[in-house]
């Protein structure tokens, strides 16, 4: 049988190597983040984050072996079962979860705690892939085909929101990439981006000026428009679009002041002007920018970071691990990390495109999208381009649940990809 060929032959070694590189660099930086020059911190000591992370890496390796051994068809067949189990865990955590850092999202089993929200990404990816594997479903023609997808995403998103873990919920936005690839009309993400742009502009400028500017631009568009287009409804279309945009501007204002909670509003405002609240929410952003900025071109050297030694940067080994890279390894180090991520997700897209089954392709895009979204938000927030949202940097940040969930997510795809030569195309 062809399937008895060793997995090592077919697995995509480029992804595996990037994965190993990320884990190694991440672990060394966690060690640097917890390193105390006066206390001779030991990298292998289980009482600090570096030692624990090594333990998580070891257990992740065991998980990977399990994934590679299990038959690849298992994941497709049991997609909805896995989804149901994760939903069940998300419900359980609402009632039995322990409160860590204000969010009630951890299941505690003895000294071991697990965050089901981390695994919801995997479950939703599998469920969406399974659903889209039906060749009859078309995203560019039938609106009703979107409803099940919306349901698949909304259910866990709602449960995660209830457990106060907004960061993990926002990750579901990454499925827009998959839907776009599978036929969602391009104007939907375009509208999303324009909306985001309008949001930021609204926060920066007086809303009446923006409204005026939109009217002026709309006037220019109508004036420059070919007469034929104008007559065929272009005039009204432009006017409607302009009014919708003005509506968004005022809606954003209302949303910011009346809907968002104070700390959420603060996080967005800080993104625009960190100095508006230097001791509060702006603290993280300012400190992380100083830490990264002080690294210079070559960095201060391994374990030589000074900004990190006085605990200036909070959550240094988890959400702000990129600061340690920036400070100790400089522009060189950060460039390498950015390249690793871009290479990884681009490679995942290439792998996804060569799949013969739609299930495998959709799943590959899900993995790429999720990792990309984490990279986008996490690195973006440390360099002040994104609001402070507490989500980890895949493979770098300290934490067992996140490392496990990313490893499982990635290696399920690698396993499916390794079986590609033996899979029949279904469309």
């Amino acid at each position: 049988m062809a399937e008895s060929k060793p997995i090592t032959k077919n697995v995509d070694w480029m992804v595996v190597l990037i994965y190993i590189a990320c884990l190694t660099i991440g672990w060394l930086n966690i060690y640097a983040a917890v390193y105390n020059p006066e206390a001779h911190t030991n990298m292998f000591d289980l009482s600090n984050n570096a030692g624990k992370q090594l333990m998580w890496i070891g257990t992740a390796a065991l998980l990977i072996i399990c994934i590679l051994v299990i038959d690849y068809k298992f994941y497709e067949t049991f997609s909805f079962v896995i989804y149901a189990v994760v939903i069940f865990l998300l419900v359980v955590v609402l009632f039995a979860g322990s409160n860590i850092n204000g969010s009630r999202s951890w299941i505690k089993l003895g000294s071991f705690s697990l965050q089901p929200a981390e695994f919801s990404k995997l479950a939703v990816s599998l469920a969406i892939s399974k659903y889209l594997s039906d060749p009859a479903i078309s995203l560019n023609r039938k609106l009703k085909d979107y409803y099940p997808i919306m349901g698949i995403i909304a259910l866990p998103a709602f449960l995660i929101l209830l457990s106060n873990e907004t960061g993990s919920m926002l990750v579901f936005a990454s499925f827009a990439i998959v839907l776009y690839r599978e036929g969602m009309p391009g104007f939907i993400p375009a509208i999303g981006m324009i909306g985001a742009a309008l949001l930021i502009i609204t926060l920066l400028f007086v809303k009446w000026y923006i409204a005026g500017a939109i009217i002026v631009i709309a006037g220019l568009v109508i004036w420059l428009m070919p007469v034929m287009t104008r007559r065929r409804g272009g005039l009204w279309a432009t006017i409607i679009v302009a009014f919708v945009m003005i509506g968004i501007v005022f809606g954003v204002d209302f949303f910011m002041n009346n809907v968002l909670q104070k700390h959420q509003r603060g996080r967005i405002m800080v993104l625009l002007d960190p100095d508006s609240d230097p001791r509060g929410i702006g603290w993280n952003v300012i400190q992380s920018k100083i830490a990264i900025g002080s690294g210079g071109v070559w960095g201060k050297g391994f374990l030589q970071g000074t900004q990190t030694k006085f605990d200036f940067v909070p959550e240094q080994s988890t959400d702000f691990i990129f600061c340690t890279v920036g400070e100790e390894h400089g522009f060189l180090g950060t460039t390498i990390v950015v390249f690793l991520f871009v290479a990884l997700i681009s490679r995942l897209v290439v792998l996804a495109e060569r799949q013969r089954s739609r299930f495998a392709r959709v799943y590959g895009y899900c993995v790429a999208g999720i990792i990309f979204f984490h990279f986008l938000v996490n690195v973006g927030m440390t360099i002040g381009l994104m609001p402070v949202i507490g989500i980890p940097l895949p493979f770098f940040s300290y934490g067992g649940s996140s490392l496990w969930s990313f490893s499982v997510l990635l290696f399920i795809f690698l396993k499916i990809d390794a079986q590609r030569p033996f899979t029949l195309s279904r469309g």
Binding site: R181, I290, G293, G296, Q307, G326, F331, T335, I383, L385
Partner: protein, 662 residues
């Protein structure tokens, strides 16, 4: 057609990557501001020690405050000394001292600053500051000293000193660091957490040479030091100092309590010392001298010393007797058939007269009735049951219990029960005839002056008390600890107090304390003469006044002064008058008490070795142990030293050590 969308997606990924790289390039390479802030200038964390809270008396007069002082630190490797002689002259130290200080500093670390001279006054600092600029490697650090407005209350307030190694290791949350100051005794220790305040942290920039370059980030990240909370006591500083003066050249205690609230008005532990001497550069020298002093000025007698209550205990016996119904206010007893002796006094036909004349047989009979109240035939069993019932009644007065005052090392005292005597005699092997000395406050009873002052407060209140406490208000809001607002009942009805109080008034007007009565103030009091085998009796007096609206309850203990009426009662009544009317009318009595010198009669505490004879002890020179809980240190048991005059309290230290400033 959809396949081509992969290029859009990969392009989007790449675009984000490029934007992030451009941003990183800007932050890390182009923008110089961050690198200047964090790398060329190193940031140093400087800890700011807040001022300890101040302590006030009941009228808002300051008792303890802080004086800013300066510590001189040296970093040995930076020191370039051309003219050591002049340097020593400026600092007022010997060349020898300089060498040993430098040696000690170098041994600790050549690159880290260590203490060179501590606690220079502001004036000294001002005079040498300019000259010190010429000497590299020396820097000043601001610090503060506890300062006392009056040389009193040393043991009550306690002292502050550098944290010991043991304390450093034992602390539960790592707050203190080496060299930090911590309250070591008295109020300073009990209220350490309130007094210490909150340390502040400053981040300052230094260049490579370690020169100060201003606050980092304009001080945005600094946390301010928060001064400790002020403490408000119920102490009356004027009365306290008056009581101090009366207790000069005596060993003993004065405890005065406001009965309605339990606030301590005055607390004297004689002999005492000036608390300022333990808050100076010469702490260790002065402390060693105090610790060596045979009169143990560091021993806080009001709460730690133990005595037999003597006749003052008869008050409680009478109260329990009335409450249990074994006597009525009109019960009378004669001296007939009684193993305890008595003095010659008029017939004691009522409880009041029994108290007034402190008749021993009277209370022997009361106690006998209390013990045998249960009507059990077997006298051994009856005694056992009776004693335990009696014990429980007495315990409600705080006898044999810790009252819970806010001072460390409160001595529990001893109130024997059945178990206690069973250990000596065996179960049911003892009966009333073995324990009757308890009836008059002798035997195995042990109390502290504080407890007896509290008994006076209970009688003043006619039945209840508030835990005596020094601090009646923490911080600006003057919060009182809830345990000090809790009323403790004794279970004796208010009407049963009246005959006893009548007897106490009689004691002051015409009885055992008549020589010290105060014109215009009705005082209810009771003398006590506490026997101890190795010296003259201790003089005890407890009282409260005015009788109708008690404002002060007091206990005075004067060691080896003889009967209660001879020293304790006059001192107590003078203090009561001073507190209530702010003046003293009986100047002759005051004069006599001020001059009274009992130091020659005081038998110094010592460790007693079994088998030593009385004569042998008289010859030996005293070497007291430092342990205040050693029973030998509580019960006097040795003769006075050859030259008692040299040891007179308040203890003063050799002049030279105090003058050795800059």
């Amino acid at each position: 057609m959809l396949e081509s969308r992969r290029f859009v997606i990969i392009g989007f990924f790449a675009l984000v990557g490029i934007i992030y790289l451009l941003r990183l390039f800007y932050l890390q390479v182009l923008d110089e501001s961050y690198s200047i802030e964090s790398s060329s200038n190193s940031i140093k964390r400087v800890t700011e020690i807040p001022f300890r809270g101040q302590i006030y008396d009941r009228y808002g007069k300051l008792i303890v405050y802080n004086t800013p002082v300066y510590d001189l630190l040296v970093t040995p490797y930076k020191v370039k000394m051309d003219d050591t002689l002049r340097f020593c002259q400026v600092l007022g130290i010997e060349r020898r001292d300089f060498d040993s200080l430098m040696n000690a500093a170098s041994t600790y670390s050549r690159v880290k600053p260590s203490l060179f001279l501590r606690q220079l006054s502001k004036e000294d600092f001002a005079s040498i500051q300019d000259i010190m600029v010429d000497y590299s490697g020396f820097e000043f650090a601001k610090s503060s000293l506890r300062t006392y407005t009056a040389p009193t209350l040393a043991n009550t307030l306690g002292y502050v000193s550098e944290i010991t190694k043991g304390q450093l290791e034992k602390q539960e949350e790592p707050y203190y660091r080496q060299g930090d100051y911590i309250g070591q005794s008295g109020v300073e220790r009990i209220y350490e957490n309130e007094l210490r305040g909150k340390r502040g942290t400053k981040f300052v920039m230094q260049n490579v040479a370690g020169v100060y370059k201003g606050p980092w980030k304009n001080g945005e990240l600094d946390t301010m030091a928060v001064a400790g909370e002020n403490l408000y006591t119920g102490l009356d500083l004027e009365v306290q100092q008056y009581a101090d003066s009366l207790m000069v050249n005596k060993v003993g205690s004065v405890v005065a309590i406001e009965p309605k609230t339990g606030q301590i008005i005055s607390m004297v532990s004689a002999p005492t010392y000036d608390p300022n001497i333990l808050a100076s550069r010469y702490f260790s020298k002065n402390f060693a001298a105090l610790a060596r002093n045979p009169y143990k000025p560091l021993f806080n007698r009001p709460v730690m010393a133990s005595y037999r209550p003597g006749s003052t205990f008869k008050l409680i016996q009478a109260l329990i007797g009335l409450q249990e119904g074994v006597i009525t206010p009109g019960s009378g007893f004669t001296h007939a058939n009684c193993p305890v002796g008595c003095h010659n006094h008029p017939a004691t036909s009522t409880v009041a007269l029994g108290v007034t004349h402190s008749c021993n047989p009277y209370f022997y009979n009361v106690f006998r009735r209390l013990i045998y109240k249960n009507n059990i035939k077997n006298t051994f069993k009856a005694s056992a049951v009776g004693l335990d019932a009696w014990h429980d009644d007495i315990a409600k007065f705080g006898i044999g219990q810790r009252l819970g005052i806010d001072l460390p090392s409160e001595y529990k005292g001893n109130l024997p029960n059945k178990k206690y005597y069973d250990r000596f005699y065996g179960e049911y092997r003892w009966k009333f005839s073995n324990i009757y000395s308890l009836s008059i406050g002798e035997g195995e009873l042990l109390i502290t002056p504080l407890k007896m002052a509290n008994v006076a407060a209970i009688i003043a209140n006619r039945g209840y008390f508030y835990t005596p406490h020094v601090i009646h208000g923490i911080g600006d809001k003057k919060t009182v600890k809830p345990e000090f607002l809790e009323r403790h009942e004794t279970g004796v009805d208010a009407h049963n107090f009246e005959p006893v109080i009548e007897g106490m008034i009689g004691a002051v007007e015409a009885g055992t304390a008549r020589r010290s009565k105060v014109e215009g103030i009705t005082i209810a009091g009771k003398t006590g003469t506490s026997q101890n085998k190795r010296g003259d009796d201790h003089s005890i007096f407890i009282a409260f006044a005015p009788v109708d609206d008690p404002k002060i309850a007091i206990a005075v203990f004067v060691e080896n002064a003889g009967a209660g009426g001879s020293a304790a009662a006059p001192i107590a009544n003078l203090i009561i008058e001073k507190y209530l009317s702010r003046k003293v009318t009986n100047k002759a009595l005051e004069e006599r008490m001020l001059k009274l010198d009992l130091m020659s009669k005081v038998v110094l505490p010592t460790t007693k070795k079994p088998g030593e004879t009385e004569t042998k002890k008289k010859e030996e020179v005293k070497k007291p142990t430092g342990d205040p809980n050693d029973p030998a240190n509580r019960l006097p048991g040795a003769p006075h030293p050859a030259n008692p005059a040299a040891m007179r309290g308040p203890v003063t230290l050799p002049k030279q050590s105090q003058q050795k400033a800059l």
